[in-house]
């Protein structure tokens, strides 16, 4: 692969709050190649949505600000762009769709008006031509009766239809990168399946890259070729999705997989992660997962883990894989299936964490 489309390097997005500075995104790095789908997964408050908003520089100001890092899009740093240059980029080269289409569509204009606007603003089409393109696009996202939908208002459409309109708008200027933040969370399962399939087909056809942000491990498994797992503002694991699902390495990722309910777990208690997610104003000083980790030992509370490449293309931020950590307990080796890293610290809650079968 020649040049990556998007390279996020050491991105930090902080917020001023009454309780101090919240480090919502704290040193996040990942890469998106042209035409590829990268999934960012994590639970509420892990910073995944803020990462996406930072890329587009839509972080709510003045409370929030980008405190450091680089966001290279086709080799040039988006953070160096002026406000108006950035404005030209949004909705053109990088488009974004959100969870709740009703709040991102304008309720007082027709679908057609909004579809045409996005092309006119970016100067890609005008008047009659813009209208024709808009109808084409609606056809393309498999909306029946496109010409009629053009005259309707967002509230007259169902949730699935609205999300299709959002996708059509996002694609209007043939973006190179589509950022989708929980695009199907508000939809029914069968509609969700249709929308996901639509996104995949459109991607194959138009060759754009997708950055998919979701909390649903199933959706990521289905859609993404590369998965970034976030916890407490950091990337804790980054791997090709096949590798990640076969061999999750970070204790948090393992815990997440193990806590998924399924028929195989019937009659057994599900795995739980002890404790709760820490506050963004008050992250634990070293490893942020340490207070909840079943594998923790002394160094975990003292030294911030480095991101370690545990196998080619597979990165985990955990001392278990760091040969330079002097006091690693015996047996803490690469945690391939079968050879679990042992939690040997006396008094720590030892639990067996199983990879999904």
């Amino acid at each position: 692969m020649a040049q990556p489309l998007l390279q996020v390097m050491d991105l930090c997005t902080y917020f001023h709050t009454p309780y101090g500075v919240a480090r919502a995104v704290d040193g996040v790095s990942f890469t998106v190649n042209p035409g590829e789908t990268v999934g960012i997964v994590g639970e509420s408050g892990c910073g995944k949505s803020m990462t996406a908003l930072s890329i587009l520089q839509l972080v709510p100001e003045p409370a929030g600000y980008i405190a450091g890092g680089r966001i290279l899009f086709e080799g040039s740093d988006l953070l160096d762009l002026s406000w108006s240059q950035m404005r030209n980029l949004r909705g053109k080269d990088i488009a974004m769709i959100f969870q709740e289409p009703m709040t991102s569509l304008n309720a007082v204009f027709t679908v057609g008006w909004q579809m045409k606007e996005i092309m006119q603003v970016h100067g890609t089409a005008e008047g009659e031509e813009a209208y024709k393109r808009a109808v084409e696009l609606l056809d393309h996202v498999r909306i029946p009766n496109a010409a009629q939908i053009m005259r309707q208002y967002p509230h007259e459409l169902s949730g699935g239809m609205r999300q299709r309109v959002m996708i059509a708008m996002a694609l209007a200027n043939k973006p190179k990168l589509l950022i989708a933040d929980e695009p199907t969370t508000a939809l029914d399962v069968t509609v969700q399946a249709q929308i996901l399939e639509l996104m995949r087909d459109l991607q194959a056809e138009m060759g754009m890259a997708i950055l998919l942000i979701t909390h649903d491990l199933g959706i990521v498994a289905k859609m993404a070729s590369q998965v970034v797992v976030m916890y407490a503002g950091q990337v804790v694991e980054n791997a090709p999705s096949r590798v990640l699902y076969r061999n999750p390495q970070h204790p948090y990722t393992r815990g997440l997989f193990a806590s998924l309910p399924s028929r195989n777990q019937r009659g057994h208690d599900l795995h739980t992660l002890e404790g709760t997610v820490p506050q963004a104003t008050n992250w634990p000083p070293a490893c942020r997962f340490e207070p909840r980790c079943a594998y923790r030992w002394g160094s975990c509370a003292k030294v911030m883990p480095r991101a370690i490449e545990t196998e080619p293309g597979h990165i985990a931020r955990c001392h278990l894989y760091d040969a330079n950590i002097a006091d690693r307990p015996e047996g803490a080796t690469e945690g391939r299936n079968g050879t679990e890293p042992a939690a040997v610290q006396a008094g720590s809650p030892v639990r067996s964490v199983e990879a999904p079968s």
Binding site: V189, Q192, A193, S262
Partner: protein, 277 residues
């Protein structure tokens, strides 16, 4: 009451909503629930699955006596709803409780946890005095793994998972037999979901509770339910044990529902692959 008798039976239950039509036009009815019958044995978990608009929540509301059926019968503990009057009808409110999807909306923001947990006791005359009710409330909190210091706090001070535990504690506060769980984990994160599911399972074991589980999450159904009714447009299109529904779905709609869910479960992945070819 005999042991073999189901705790709850629903017979030919219907709920039609009259739609708005122009003046002088014949009335049009939306058949939200259309001739549904099922039994829930004591201590069992029945899951109602289907998409939004399939009528599953409407059934839940009718079972809780919060919505009048158009026709049909609901028999709880051997006595039809219709035969219960006055105090006996009110007693249903104690026997049957509900936990809703959104713990942000279902707790009263202006009541502290003490009030939330003791209000139902007060109404149903549980506990001799305020002290005893408070002791019970603290005990309920312990059951759902929250500390007694939570009593003085308000819902906004808790996380989503903690709020859902408070909602569960509130349901338990009047010692019910039967709980309607309406999407109790869909608003929660994965790691919190597993805590709440474990809690629900444990409470069912300890108290012999009977659950009606309303959800569209088939992974949760596979984990928790004994029997499943698949609903489409107000009707039950298929029913069976979890294994029957998952392994040998008969109806096209059930198969479509199963294949629509992105899942890590290998059995489901296989199904997914089959449905594509």
């Amino acid at each position: 009451m005999s042991e073999g008798m189901p705790l709850l039976s629903v017979r030919n239950l219907k709920k039609y909503f009259k739609m708005r039509t122009p003046l002088f036009q014949p009335a049009v009815y939306k058949k939200a629930v259309d001739d549904v019958s099922f039994d829930v044995p004591r201590g069992h978990t029945l899951a109602l699955v289907g998409e939004s608009g399939s009528g599953k929540s409407t059934i839940g509301l009718m079972l809780l006596d919060l919505l009048e059926p158009t026709s049909g019968e609901i028999i709880y503990d051997g006595r039809p709803f219709a035969d219960r009057r006055g105090r006996e009808r009110l007693a249903l409110r104690r026997e049957m409780q509900v936990v809703f999807q959104d713990p942000y909306a279902s707790l009263n923001a202006r009541m502290d946890v003490r009030e939330t947990l003791t209000e139902g006791m007060l109404v149903h005359g549980i506990g001799a005095n305020a002290r005893e009710r408070e002791e019970r409330a603290a005990e309920l909190l312990r059951k759902v793994s929250l500390g007694p210091d939570a009593l003085n706090r308000y819902p906004h001070e808790f996380s989503g998972g903690q709020r859902q535990r408070i909602a569960i504690a509130r349901a338990l506060s009047v010692e019910p037999q039967f709980i309607v769980l309406d999407e109790p984990t869909s608003a929660l994160d994965v790691s919190v979901q597993s805590q709440v599911l474990n809690l629900l399972r444990q409470l069912q074991r300890d108290h012999g509770l009977t659950y009606l589980f309303v959800t569209h999450n088939l992974d949760v159904v596979g984990y928790l339910a004994d029997t499943v009714c698949v609903m489409e447009a107000g009707k039950i299109v298929e029913r069976g044990t979890v294994d029957e529904i998952f392994d040998t779905p008969k109806e096209a709609y059930t198969r479509r529902l199963l294949s629509a869910i992105p899942s890590l479960d290998p059995a489901m992945q296989e199904l997914l692959a089959q449905s594509r070819t």
